[in-house]
């Protein structure tokens, strides 16, 4: 689709919103097609590819052995970061990490970290000497809308399939990383005045603020983030929070199904 100029696009989106419609014909809370694939990268100790509409994300998990922080001698560490390199789209430029890519990595990181799905003490090899550092790297190949949810999905799916490479580091046999739960992110963008789930690239271009909600297995909140220009009311939040609950259940099944394969 030829991109409308933003002002015209905003008008069109507002017009559609009045009748509850969206540019691509989806319902307000309806997602695009999502294909999740895991174990797809030769050198990733865990890996996942998410094709979410036209948005394409890879995530890979690597382990490194390091000395623990002095104040937490029994704990390993987890780090999730995102690269938003210029391959991801025409608007992305080379250079040091942009605020956008930093936010993306940190919001996905918080959702996983705060869910407690990884027991940091289980990452200890020798207390005070050697622990595992788990690195989840997210690589955005194509950003065509709702990159955050696609990245979060790829990250947790890659993590849940990760094998700890103990043999390569001479500390025993390889084993599957224990991941206790499946935190899932659902994001909402204000488009034409009301929120929609899973905005397309056009909807993001003509939209306003967005809200990222990460929920755990029990429906508890683990991470929230509001980004971009715009305000919302507690009532509006209550509405999308309900939607997030059901969308996260759906997405969590996708991860579970993939693991069942």
């Amino acid at each position: 689709m030829v991109a409308l100029v933003p002002t015209l696009l905003r008008q069109e989106l507002a017009r559609l919103a009045e009748s509850g419609a969206r540019l691509d014909g989806r319902g307000q809370w309806e997602a695009r097609d999502i294909v999740l694939e895991t174990d797809c990268l030769y050198n990733g100790e865990g890996s996942a590819k998410v094709v979410w509409g036209d948005t394409i994300i890879y995530a890979g998990v690597k382990f490194e052995m390091r000395t623990p922080w002095p104040d937490r001698p029994n704990q390993g560490s987890l780090m999730c970061s995102a690269e938003l390199r210029p391959i991801a789209g025409r608007k992305y430029e080379p250079g040091p990490p942009s605020p956008e890519s930093i936010e993306l990595g940190r919001v996905v990181d918080r959702g996983i970290r705060e869910s407690g799905c990884i027991d940091m003490e289980k990452l200890c090899i020798v207390p005070g000497e050697k622990v595992w550092g788990v690195m989840i790297d997210i690589h955005v190949l194509s950003d065509q809308g709702n990159m955050f949810d696609a990245c979060a999905l790829a990250a947790i799916a890659a993590l849940r399939t990760a094998i700890v490479p103990a043999e390569r580091f001479d500390v025993g046999e390889d084993y599957t990383l224990k991941v206790k739960s499946t935190p899932i992110m659902a994001s909402f963008t204000r488009v034409g005045g009301r929120y929609v789930f899973d905005p397309s690239a056009e909807e993001e271009l003509g939209g306003d603020e967005r809200i990222h909600i990460t929920l755990g297995d029990e429906g508890h909140l683990h991470s929230l983030q509001k980004g971009l220009k715009g305000v919302f009311t507690p009532e509006e939040f209550a509405e999308i929070f309900d939607v997030a609950q059901s969308r996260c259940v759906d997405l969590r099944k996708l991860v579970a199904n993939q693991e069942g394969n």
Binding site: P96, G116, G216, S223, K226, G227, K229, V231, P234
Partner: protein, 242 residues
């Protein structure tokens, strides 16, 4: 959230370690107009946090590629001084500061009447001189007062405030120990007159009910802080130019 779990944060009498009630804020002092060279400025002491904010502008936005035809951009830098924390912070690039600067900037763009200044830039500098948990909220409050002090038109004064959870209890305005060992933190930026939210982050673990209670505390506290902000601005203008 650290969530060590084995640190007692509530006393037998139900009060917090520093004697505050569950829904009680730390004391707040605000002063407007403290930096002679800036177009607007503010000093906020919130508990043991100290934030200073300066506003420069509106001025021409350059490089040109950051210009917006129909509005100004708010260029926020949130920064922690090297001596503001227990362990010295190395000056320079910092992922946390960049993220906070980005979302603070977007929150302020949501309350400033940006359409008033097309193609312009307003610089907002937030310096944390002393940190004791909740600095991003204190920075938002300081930036709001500094913008008002600079005479920048806003839809409302944005108030930064946070609630959290310690020992399974929702509490208002975490202090340092509560932040280190607590279970959740919910910092928000509230427009007290309209009841809208322009800034929202959260991490940790909150059930839906806990979230609602924490939000209730935040709204109540925002009203209180708002009064102190208004009071500081009144003192500034009653006292005349300095």
């Amino acid at each position: 959230m650290g969530g060590y779990g084995d640190v007692k944060l509530l006393r037998e009498d139900g009060l917090r370690l520093d004697g505050r009630k569950i829904d009680e804020m730390r004391p707040i002092e605000i002063e407007a107009g403290i930096l002679p060279g800036a177009d607007g400025s503010a000093w906020v002491k919130h508990g043991l946090n100290i934030a200073v904010a300066a506003v420069y502008g509106p001025m021409e936005a350059h490089p040109r590629k950051i210009q917006r035809q129909d509005r100004c951009v708010i260029d926020v830098r949130y920064n922690m001084a090297p001596f503001s924390t227990s362990d010295r912070i190395r000056p320079g690039y910092n992922r946390r500061s960049r993220e906070i600067s980005k979302v603070t900037s977007e929150a302020l763009e949501s309350v400033v009447i940006c359409e008033r200044y097309p193609r312009s830039k307003i610089r907002v500098e937030i310096e944390i001189l002393s940190a004791e948990a909740g600095t991003r909220c204190v920075g938002i409050t300081a930036a709001s007062v500094a913008l008002a002090d600079a005479g920048i038109p806003m839809r409302d004064l944005l108030v930064g405030v946070a609630s959290g959870k310690v020992e399974d209890i929702v509490v208002l305005d975490l202090d340092k120990a509560e932040d280190n060992y607590g279970q959740a933190d919910l910092p928000v930026g509230i427009l007290p007159n309209t009841g809208e939210i322009a800034f929202l982050q959260m991490d940790g673990d909150l059930s839906p009910d806990e979230f609602n209670l924490a939000m209730e505390y935040n709204f109540k506290a925002a009203a209180e802080i708002h009064e102190i902000m208004v009071d500081a601005l009144k003192r500034r203008y009653e006292g005349g130019e300095n």
